[in-house]
C-alpha cells in the first residue's frame, strides 16, 4: 500500500515542480487526451542516440508520464538503417508512434505515399509564431499541409579550422573560396597531418556533402520544377575541385562516412574538418588540447560571387499514419518542445542540433551551457547558416519539395559519380551523363 507519506518521500520537491510545469504545458495543448492513460505506451524512434541524448530523452519521457500517465519507450535506429526499418514497419503495420531526427526529405517521401499524419495541429500547439521564420517551409507538402516539423536545425557542412595550425602555416584568414581552401590545406598538410577529411566513400555522407559542393560551384541537381539538371558546369567544377582535394585527405577517406570524418578532425589527424557542431563537444571531451584553437566558418565556394550553401538535413518529428495512438503521439510531439526537456536535449550535443524556436534560442537556460558560451560566435554562425540551409529535398527557396530525394541518396548515384571521377579517373562527362540518366530513372520510378 502506498500512503501519502511514502509518496511524498518518493518524489522530491524539484520533481514535483517539474511535473507541475509539465502538466501546465500539457494543459495548454489542444489534444483531448484523458489523463492517466496508463495502458498506452508510445514507441519513439530516433537515430540520434548518443548517451547524453538518450539521458535527455529519458527526462522528457519521465516528465510526460508524470503529466499524462502515458509511457514512452525509446528505440534507437540509425542514419543508415532507418529506411529499411521504417519500410518494414510501414509494410507490417507495426509502426512507431513518433519518429524524430530523420531528414526532412525522408518525411516528405513518406507523406507523399500516405504514410504520415499531417502535423499542422502539433505545430499550432507548439506555437507556429515561435519558429524561426521559414523553419517549417521544408515540411510543407504538396497538399499544403505540414508533414512534420523540425526538432532542430543542423549545419552539417561547416568548415572546421584550427587557429594554431593556420598561424603556424602563415594563414591569416579563414578561406572563403576553393582556391584559398586548397592553398590553406596544402600549407597545413605536413608529415602525419592531412589537410581535410572529405568523404569519398560509397555512402550517403559523400552524396550529401558533394551536393553542397555542386551548389557551392553555382550548380544544382534539379531545376526548381524538379527536372534533372545535375549535368551542368557547376557539377563539373565541383568534381574537379573534389578530385584535387583528394591528395589532402587521408588514404582511407575512400571509405569515410560521418563517424570517420568527425574522428579524423577531432583526433587532430586532419587540419580541417567538415561536420556539424558536434565537433565542439567531441573536441572538448576527447581532445581538449586543441579545444581553444577550434573554430568554424561556412564552407568555401568556387568564388565569392556564389552564395554559401549550408547543408541542413532538418532533423524532424513526424507521426506515422498507422499509429494506434495518434492523439497521444501528437501530444508527446508537442511536449518534446517543452523548454526543460528540449533544452536538455539540445545541450546533450551543443551546437549539433540547434533550436528551431526563437523562445528557446533566447532562453537563458539554453544559453547557460559551457560550450555554447565558450563558442558563442561559432554557435551563432551555425544557427544562422542552418536557418538558411537546404538539402536535396529542398535545394533552394525556389525549388519544389523533392519526394525522390531519399531514394536518390539511398541509390548512391551521386557518391558513385564522385568515386568514378576521383578514384577511377573516369571521364567526368561520361560519368555525369550516366548519373543523370540514373537519377532520371529513379524519378520516373
Amino acid at each position: 500500500m502506498i500512503n501519502g507519506k511514502t509518496s511524498a518521500k518518493g518524489i522530491s520537491r524539484r520533481t514535483a515542480l517539474k511535473g507541475l510545469a509539465a502538466s501546465t504545458a500539457l494543459a495548454a495543448t489542444p489534444f483531448s487526451i484523458a489523463r492517466a492513460q496508463s495502458d498506452v505506451t508510445l514507441r519513439w524512434w530516433s537515430p540520434q542516440a548518443a548517451p547524453a541524448q538518450v539521458e535527455a530523452y529519458q527526462l522528457q519521457i519521465a516528465n510526460f508520464k508524470a503529466a499524462t500517465g502515458i509511457d514512452v519507450q525509446f528505440e534507437t535506429t540509425s542514419d543508415e538503417g532507418y529506411a529499411p526499418q521504417l519500410a518494414a514497419a510501414f509494410s507490417s503495420g507495426e509502426v512507431p508512434d513518433i519518429v524524430t531526427h530523420l531528414p526532412s526529405f525522408a518525411v516528405q517521401s513518406y507523406y507523399a505515399n500516405g504514410l504520415i499524419e499531417p502535423f499542422n495541429d502539433v505545430i499550432d500547439a507548439i506555437g507556429a509564431d515561435d519558429y524561426f521564420p521559414g523553419a517549417n517551409d521544408v515540411f510543407r507538402a504538396a497538399d499544403g499541409n505540414y508533414c512534420g516539423t523540425g526538432i532542430g536545425n543542423s549545419a552539417a557542412n561547416m568548415l572546421w579550422l584550427r587557429r594554431d595550425l593556420m598561424a603556424a602555416a602563415g594563414i591569416d584568414k579563414a578561406p572563403e573560396t576553393w582556391d584559398e581552401l586548397r592553398a590553406a590545406v596544402s600549407a597545413m598538410q605536413t608529415g602525419g597531418l592531412f589537410g581535410a577529411p572529405l568523404p569519398y566513400g560509397r555512402n550517403s555522407m559523400t552524396s550529401l556533402i558533394f551536393i553542397g559542393f555542386i551548389h557551392q560551384a553555382g550548380g544544382q541537381v534539379f531545376t526548381p520544377d524538379l527536372d534533372v539538371a545535375i549535368d551542368n558546369e557547376g557539377t563539373r567544377n565541383a568534381l574537379e575541385f573534389y578530385r584535387e582535394m583528394r591528395e589532402f585527405c587521408p588514404p582511407g577517406a575512400t571509405n569515410y562516412s560521418w563517424g570517420e570524418s568527425l574522428t579524423a578532425f577531432v583526433s587532430g589527424a586532419t587540419a580541417t574538418g567538415i561536420y556539424t557542431g558536434r565537433v565542439l563537444a567531441n573536441v572538448n571531451n576527447q581532445n581538449p588540447g586543441i579545444a581553444e584553437h577550434v573554430t568554424c566558418v561556412r564552407y568555401p565556394r568556387i568564388s565569392t560571387d556564389v552564395a554559401p550553401w549550408t547543408f541542413n538535413d532538418f532533423p524532424s518529428v513526424f507521426i506515422p499514419a498507422q499509429s494506434k495512438n495518434i492523439e497521444a503521439a501528437k501530444q508527446f510531439g508537442a511536449f518534446l518542445f517543452d523548454p526543460e526537456g528540449y533544452i536538455k536535449q539540445l545541450h546533450a550535443a551543443p551546437g549539433h542540433v540547434l533550436p528551431v524556436l526563437q523562445s528557446i534560442n533566447n532562453n537563458p537556460m539554453y544559453q547557460d551551457n559551457d560550450i555554447i558560451q565558450r563558442y558563442s560566435a561559432e554557435v551563432e554562425l551555425m544557427a544562422e547558416s542552418a536557418a538558411g540551409g537546404f538539402n536535396l529535398g529542398y535545394e533552394s527557396a525556389a525549388h519544389k519539395s523533392n519526394e525522390k530525394a531519399g531514394e536518390i541518396i539511398g541509390s548512391n548515384v551521386i557518391s558513385e559519380l564522385v568515386q568514378k571521377v576521383v578514384i577511377n579517373g573516369d571521364n567526368a562527362d561520361t560519368a555525369l551523363s550516366d548519373a543523370s540518366m540514373a537519377i532520371e530513372a529513379i524519378v520516373k520510378g
Partner: protein, 316 residues
Amino acid sequence: MTASRNAQEAVSHRRHLMARNTGTLLERRYAMLGVMLIAPTVVVFCAVIVYPLLSAIYLSFFSIFTPTLQGDFVGLNNYAELLSTGTFWSSLGTTLIWTVGTLSLQILFGVGMALVLHQNMWFRSLARSLILFPYFISTVVAVLVWKWLFNDLYGIMNHFLISLGIISFPMDYLGTMPNAMISVILVGAWKYFPFVVIAVLARLQTIPDQLYEAAKIDGAGPIARFFDVTLPQLRDVLVVIILLRAIWDFKEFDLIFLLTGGGPLNDTQTLPLLVYQEAFALNDMGNASAYAVMMMLIMLVFMLVYIRRTRSEEET
C-alpha cells in the same frame, strides 16, 4: 447341408470383413497419429520456408513500393530488365569472386589448422577451443575490430607495415580495388575457417592409424602420407563442407555490407547487397524479389548437388 455350408461361409466372410475393418481402423488411427505428430513441423516449415518463398516469387511479378507493399502487376518485366542490364551480371561476377576466393582460403586454412590441432601438442584442448573464437563472435563485432585494424590513421596493420619499412604511406584497405575485395575475402576466411577446422578435425580422428603405419612401412614421407592417406579420407567430408559453405558464402550479407557497403563503386556489391539496395534504398520490392529469386535458382544448383551427394552416401 448346403444351407449349413452357406451359413459357415457367411460367418467366415463376416469374420474376414471384421478383421479387415479392424486393421483399417488401426491403420487409420496410426496414420492420423502420424499426421498429428508431423503437423507442427509442416506448419513451421510452411510458415518459414514455403510462404516466404512463394511470397518472393509472387512479389517478383509486381512493381511494388516497399513501405506500402502496393504496386502493379508487371509480369516478367522485372526479370527481363534484370537480365538485360549489367548490374545483375556484374554483381553475380562479384559474388562468384567472393565465394570462390573466401571458400578456397577457408578450406586451405581450415585443413591446415585441423592438421596442426590433430598433432600431440601442448595446450591442444585450449587451442582447439580458441580456434573457434572467430566463428562464434558476432559479425558486427568482428567487422568493427577489423575496421580498426585496417584504419588508415590508427590501424595496427598500417603501423606494423610502416614500422617494418614495407610501406612508407598508410594503405587504403577498404576504399580501393583490389584491396577492398582482398580484405573482404581475408576477413571472410578468418571468420568462417573454424567451421572447416571442426568438421575436418572430427574426420581426422576417425582415420585408422594402421593406414599411416602401412604407408610408413612402404616408405611414404609426411607429404606422401598426406596426399595418399589423409586427403582421400577427407574427400567426402570436404565435398560436403565445400557445398555447405559455398551456399552460405554465396548469400553472405552482413560481413560485406558492414565492411565496404559494396564499394568502392559496385566492386564488392554482391547479389545479397543488391537485393537490399533495391528493396530498401530504392524501395522497389518487386525488383528486389526478382533478384532474390534468381539467387535462389543459382543456389538451387548447389543444393541439388548437395542432396544428390548425401543421398548417394546414404545408399553406400
